[in-house]
Symmetry: C2
Subunit: 257 residues, 2 copies
Amino acid sequence: MADIHPVVFALKAKLAKTIGVTVLADVDRSLVRALPLFARMSDTDLDQLLARASTRRVPVGEAVFEQGQKATQFFLLLHGRLKVTQVTSEGQQIIVRVVHPGDIFGFAQALQRDDYPGTPIAAAESVVLSWPNDVWGSVVEQNPHLAVNAMRTIGQRLQEAHTRIREMSTEEVERRVAHAVLRLIEQAGRREEEGTRIDFPLTRQDVAEMTGTTLHTVSRLFSAWESQGIVKGGRQKLLVRDKERLQALAEGAGRES
Amino acid sequence: MADIHPVVFALKAKLAKTIGVTVLADVDRSLVRALPLFARMSDTDLDQLLARASTRRVPVGEAVFEQGQKATQFFLLLHGRLKVTQVTSEGQQIIVRVVHPGDIFGFAQALQRDDYPGTPIAAAESVVLSWPNDVWGSVVEQNPHLAVNAMRTIGQRLQEAHTRIREMSTEEVERRVAHAVLRLIEQAGRREEEGTRIDFPLTRQDVAEMTGTTLHTVSRLFSAWESQGIVKGGRQKLLVRDKERLQALAEGAGRES
DNA sequence: AAAACTCCTTGCGCCACCGCAAGGACATGC
DNA sequence: GCATGTCCTTGCGGTGGCGCAAGGAGTTTT
């Protein structure tokens, strides 16, 4: 996942000028090739696959598709960062998960659903590839390994969901937030001299929606942690200076006193 | 799912006397045939599949396998009811989901895991079929439809998990418990003259572990509901008399006042 | 039928967290 | 450079639900 970054930069430069299916054609193959999901696919199959893909640039704040919308395509995030949200009937919003570069998403159809269960919104400028649903079937037939791989992805997601349920059931807010931050560091951390930074814009509100609390509480926690030198905050920014201390908090320090 | 009950009763009578692989042989084919999962499988393939299956009776309170154990088999619940639990490092327990007759479970291997993520415990006397993992691969190859079907099952589970996360994030305890009870009624309800009964032994503690609260709070809620005539409780029992009122509570009545 | 369990109920005090509210700090557009 | 919008911080009061504790009611064991 880290090794695709250089290619992404090359891609980024091009993006600044023009965007279109043709522009990406020469770059995306190496990008896609680097993904574990497609690692074992033959060159010809991959070319065939890419030939049918569409490319789209998604500016910050825009949705790739909307919750409840008819699922006609499945997607791959090439670059950027998406937060998948769901809204309740009362309008309450939560963040289901964060999509990182290389992740596939919106493959509702593979799960036999006909609509998308959530709305992926670009947290940072993003580039997505998409295919019509029927490609999935033909590709899987030719390349069963891909189905297995997709299955694992879903298995991991299910696992994550259960972890989150367990955390929400048994842990108090501080531990949950600590866990969430650690996870983000793991998935989207960039090393700096002071520590590890979360590599995309993330508001307190976002963290609150990921952990089932309010932005107020998150803000208070971050402030407290900052005064202890564990993290360093900022507008839509967070830098973890002392990962060990944060891990201790996630394990349940602060319980005993 | 409801239509397998008559067959189950026939099975149950036999169970009272002897239990063994051979005893089941004549009954289980029709049972398995009734499951949507195997609906489109040919008779010969099904026979072949059943020939490789083992049968096991699981008494109340016993685990089919343990969390963290090496996953060597996958399972199908023929009869009874299982609650899948996970324990945290601190020993806190939660109920991840309830397995109903006809559900497959413990197919960690299909998700590329090598250990079981939870412990399924019999809430009622249960009968499970199991196959060694390698059968999965060969069966899926012969019958891709089965893989698709399994995928849908997982998709639904993921969906459920997200629903639960959303509920835990945004709803207060009463609504969550109401939702959980409604779900149980839907999946395991048996009609009686007074209302609909949850068709397996379920403690207040169980409900608490499904909704992320304590048995005290659940008990208090049930008492309050009972005094309003919405439900009728009992030791390890619950009967819903007024589903509409309960649904209203789940939607958020009691919020405004 | 008594003893030993397991499960359920209810009262009471407490505190983690929410919700409101007001103000400040950045960022972006006109 | 002023205005408008978004995001962050912090104080304060209220409360939902947790935890403790004690007692009661079924169920199984001996």
